[in-house]
Amino acid sequence: MIDVHYFAGLKELTGHEKERVDCSGQTVEQLKALLVDKYPGIEGRSIQVAVNEEYALPGDVLAAGDVVALIPPVSGG
């Protein structure tokens, strides 16, 4: 199982700050598809994925214990 964190608008949309998702061995892209199925409102949004606090690529493979975060477009400053 992998912890997935949500922030800002995605936290409100999913209703979770974080949740455990069974996605070990899957790619970042597969996880995104899985989450779109679960939360259709995510579809079409610009979302980056961070794994262990670094931006990840779509093909990166997730392993048990990874910390994943869905990062909507940032707006700091």
Binding site: H5, F7, A8, G9, L10, K11, E12, R45, A50, E53, E54, Y55, A69, I71, P72, P73, V74, S75, G76, G77
Partner: protein, 146 residues
Amino acid sequence: MKAFSVVTEPIEPQVYADYVLRPEAGAVTLFTGHVREWTKGVQTLYLAYEAYVPMAEKKLARIGQEIEEKWEGTRVAIAHRIGELQISDIAVVIAVSSPHRKVAYEANEYAIERIKEIVPIWKKEIWNDGEEWIGDQKKKPGGETG
């Protein structure tokens, strides 16, 4: 203090200017970003900032590292505040010291541009008649595309 931090308390800019000042520095630029009341005719009541704190602090440190590699002899400190901020509160402070002023100005601007690109911090504008996460929507009040 930490040179690259996400904070919840009010920011005291001088602390960051003092941190980057060294005998080799002939210039310190101190940028403070503030909560603005009016954006394109829409009045903001206050802002709520949220961050993915551990990653945001890593990315702020990375920006500092980029600057110190790009412009030799610079030293950088950055803090971003999160939580509810009122009009005119300081949301972000960037201090850069360098031997000469030109680089201190350039590097400081580079830092705020990079913050807006890579640091996982989000701002929600709260208006009289609603609220919205900025950067996370296609449309802003007044039909502006965000």
